[in-house]
Amino acid sequence: MNAPAPKRLWQRFTRTRVGRSIFRVGLPESNLERSQAMVSSFLLHVQPAKVHRHALRASYSLGLGLISLYLFCILCGTGVLLMFYYVPSTDKAYDIMKDLQFVVSAGLVIRNMHRWAAHLMVLFVMLHMCRVFYTGAYKNPREFNWVLGVGLLLVTLGLSFTGYLLPWDQLAFWAITVGTSIAGYAPVVGEKLKYLMLGGHIVGQDSLTRFYALHVIVLPAIAVLMISVHLFRVRKDGGLSRPDEPGDVVEQIPLGQLPANKSYGLMELARGTTPQVGKNPEDEVFSWPHLVFRELLLFLLVTAVVLFLAIFWNAPLEEIANAVHPPNPAKAPWYFLGLQELVSYSAFWGGVVVPGLLVTALALLPYIDRKRHGVGRWFARERVVANTIFSVCVAIAVIFTVIGSLFRGPNWSWVEPWKNPPAVTEGH
């Protein structure tokens, strides 16, 4: 058979001395080489050489976690590019955003990509969490990975929040004014926390410097660490969750009682069983090409969608920050509008108590709901109570977000989106 030219070239290259020194294995031809390719490559070795068929089913995971990961990568790439121009100075930041839009080659598209990927990441992390919930995937032994996930959700929101102060436009300024004031309502430490966040009493240069440091190094570093552990745990917890099969429930023999007429490998001792126990070779396929190919395809798809959005829609940039007059209405981005609606009833209850309780409940969830049934299937019958409670919470969150987005006009008054909003007549 005649392989296409690029493939032939690549094969020839990986057979040369230099090619071999870099890649060790060329394009794999046999199952042995497929395994070797997976374990000898830095990027691939974090994944197993073989995966369970169930894990590959797109209808199970919907690839939502992977999509979040890819969006994060796109954000890092475009973010670093933006850093080459951006200066965190209240005098310059806004002008630089304008430069990026109108002067710098490809600046507009890169800024757009960064913004749209950020919105999408918040969305997809939330969807990923819903998927994990509805498939019961947070149950033993994945409890802690869910908790890490809750942390990642918070870090993702933190990255968005610190990110949109940076353009120093009206949205930026007033979102930070309101956001840090909410922190000020926290019991006992509130005022101190606000002072610490702003680096003073007012939203100014010190606040911008602080949010910049958080946005470009502190939070991304935390995110990278947590994502690494998250992915490591997916693998160590036995790959993606799937319904229990008879062979899955393996009895581990305590170290002292292992039969003495056999020698044991380190893996066996560490795991309690040999790596093969509980695995049915029939259920597994080689990661190369089945998993790797799908991952690559999804990455291309995500990049294409972000690029498409960035080319056809421009990221918003409001007027330059005006420390005297907030826009009317002053709205946060969509993912905080539910919170803003809550806060419009009471800053303490809506801004501190309700979100605090929600996050605590989410983090404790896998330790509260411990029954091991209905794992690995969407909307399992056995989980109808848990699924209903969760769905009601999601529905309430969506309703509040929709009200905040569409039904609130000037002075946060009730408006119906299908009617023209009332004209704003007030001012100074």
Binding site: G199, H201, V324, P329, A330, A347, W412, G427, H428
Partner: protein, 156 residues
Amino acid sequence: MNDSAPDKVTSRRGFFQLAFGWLAAIFAATASAAGAVRFLVPNVLFEPDQRFKAGKPDDYLDGAVTFLDDERVFIVRKGNTFRCLSAICTHLGCTVNRAGQGFHCPCHGSVFDDQGVVKSGPAPRPLDWFSVSLSKDNRLLVDKGRRVTDDKYLVI
């Protein structure tokens, strides 16, 4: 020495070594964390002075409520009395707008009456009143660092 004694009794020396090790580790961790947090709390601020001169009393019309842009306050004159009302919403810090006799906040819809008292909305307390005095050169002198009750006037 017989560390691997099967009954696992800790020797006195072992206990002190362990206790000292842990104490040192906890102390080092706490001190570093405290130092880092303290480092982040600024000691000196370069923020505008809280006191400012608001011009001559006669710049303000009798009965007028005048907004001073840069300072985010209203100067309220009635007859020959002067007061200064904060325009910063006590909810989450947006600037309120004058609306009819009272004030409206654009951010979450708090409504205040002409005395800064909350009529509706999420604001937890009335707008602040600031101390007004007269400087030596006969200008109004407002101190945003000093809150006063709404019955304190400067009478001229």
